[in-house]
Symmetry: C2
Subunit: 261 residues, 2 copies
Amino acid sequence: MARSPSARRGAAGRRNARAIARYRLVQDGLTNRIEKGEYAPGDRIPTEKELARLYGVSVGTVKTALLQMVHQGLLHRIQGKGSFVSGSLIGRDQLRLYHFVEGFDDDDAPLQVRFLALHVGVRDLAAARWLRLKSGETMFRIDRVFAMGATPVVWTSSFLPQRLFAGLEQLPREAFETKPLYRLVEERYRLPTLRYQEMFSAVLSDGESGPPLAVPAGFPLLQIEMLALSFRDRPIEYRQSLCRTDRARLFRLPLRAPSSA
Amino acid sequence: MARSPSARRGAAGRRNARAIARYRLVQDGLTNRIEKGEYAPGDRIPTEKELARLYGVSVGTVKTALLQMVHQGLLHRIQGKGSFVSGSLIGRDQLRLYHFVEGFDDDDAPLQVRFLALHVGVRDLAAARWLRLKSGETMFRIDRVFAMGATPVVWTSSFLPQRLFAGLEQLPREAFETKPLYRLVEERYRLPTLRYQEMFSAVLSDGESGPPLAVPAGFPLLQIEMLALSFRDRPIEYRQSLCRTDRARLFRLPLRAPSSA
DNA sequence: GCTCATTTGTTCGTATGTATC
DNA sequence: TGATACATACGAACAAATGAG
C-alpha cells in the first residue's frame, strides 16, 4: 500500500504550503556533497538503492532527484554502470569555447595553444569587478595565443582569483598548452565550469594587439569577454579575447533556454 | 500487479534490442501533432488521463513523455491548469536576440525597431545555402534598424524562404515594428523559433553600412550571422546583422549543453 | 562465449498533496 | 466547496546494459 508523502513525518509533519519535496532533499544533499568536493567529476555516486536507504525514501524518489540533476548537467547516468558526477560544460560533446568555422555546416579544425606568460599579483578593475573580488585581492593573469596552423587567431588573457588557485604559478608552461584551462581548473582545483556568460564587441587592433595576431593597426578584431561560473554561479575566470575573423568566424552552438527547474 | 512492458503487446510483441519505449511513442506522437499545427503555441493539450487512454498507457508513462518534452522546451506545465504548447525560445524569460549591456551585471534597455524595406523575389547565394533552398527558390528580405534612443545600434537584413511565408509582403510596415519578427512568424505561420545558431566576426564599416549606423567608414562593427531553426531543425530565417559596439556590448546568456535526450 | 549479479531504464498501479478555477 | 489537473511518493516487476567470473 502506498504511503502518503507525509506518512513518515509523523502526525506533526503534515504537508503545508512551504513543505519541501523529499526528492529535493535528496537532490540538495547530493548537490552539496558534490560542491564540497566529496564527489569529484568522474566519480561514481552511490546506487539508487543505497541512496534510498541513506535518505530514507523510495527508489522512485531517488530516481526523480537524480534525473533532475541530470537535466541540470550535474550528473550523467549509464545503464548497468551507475551515476557519475559530470565535469565542465565545455568539452562535453562537440562543445568548445573557441570554435572557428567557415560556415554553419562546416567542421572546425582544432586550435593549437601557445603559452605566453603567467603574471602573479595582478590588479585590474574590470576583471576584479566581474570576479566579485574584495578590494585588494589579486589575480593571476595567463596570456595565450590560439593558432590555426601557422596563423594566430585568438589572443587571450585569463584572469583567475589568486585566492582560489594557490600554487598555479608553480605549474610548468606545458600544463597550459597540453590541456584546456577549464580542464586544468576542474581537475586540479575541483571547480568545473558549469556555465558562462559572454559579451561581444568589435574593436580595432593597435600597437599592443596587432603583433601577436600578426595584423596591422586598424584591423577589425572580435573582442570576447567571458565570465566562467562554477557551483552556485561563483565566478572563477574572467577572460578577454581578441580574435581575427578574416579567415573563419566564431561559431556558437544553439542556445537553449535555461531550465529553471 | 505490475505488467511487463511487453505484456500488452501479446505473445509476438516481445521486447528486443530495437524496441522503442512506450513513453517515446507518446512523445513522438504529440510532437508530430504539434509540428503539424494541430496544437499551436499557447494551446492546452489533453490531460494526462486523456492521453493515457488515447495511447493505451499508464498515467506515469504519459508523465514521463511530457516531462521529456518540457525539458526539450516544447511544453510547459502548470499545476492545476494543464500542459501547454510552448512557443519560440526567444522571448521566454529575459531571453532576447539582441541584448546590449554595459557589463555582465547590467540591465539592458530594450531597442526600438525601425522598418526600412521589404524585398520580394530576392536571390542570395549564402542565404539560400544556409536556408537549404532548392535552386531557383526566392526569398523575402526584410531590412530593419534597431536603435538605442537616438543612436542606431544594429542594422539587419532577414532572409525568409518565400515558399514558407506566403502573403508576408502584404503586411503593413507596422507589423514589423510593433512586435519581434520571430513572434510574427510564430503567430502567423505557426513556426516557432526553437533554436538558433550564430557566427560572429568583426568587419569595417563601408559606404553601405556606415550611413544607417551613423558611423564613418573604417569603423569596427560586430557582424552576426544567425540561422533560426524551427521544428526538426528546419531553417526558417537567416539574418545578417551589423552592430555598433562602441557604447554597449552584445550580451549572451549562459550556454547550456543541449540535452540529447 | 556464457552465466550471473549489479545497476539503471521502463512500465504499471495506487494514494495523496497542492494549485486552479 | 467541489471538480479537475498536475506534483509527489511508494512499491513492484521486468528489460537492458555492464562487468566479473
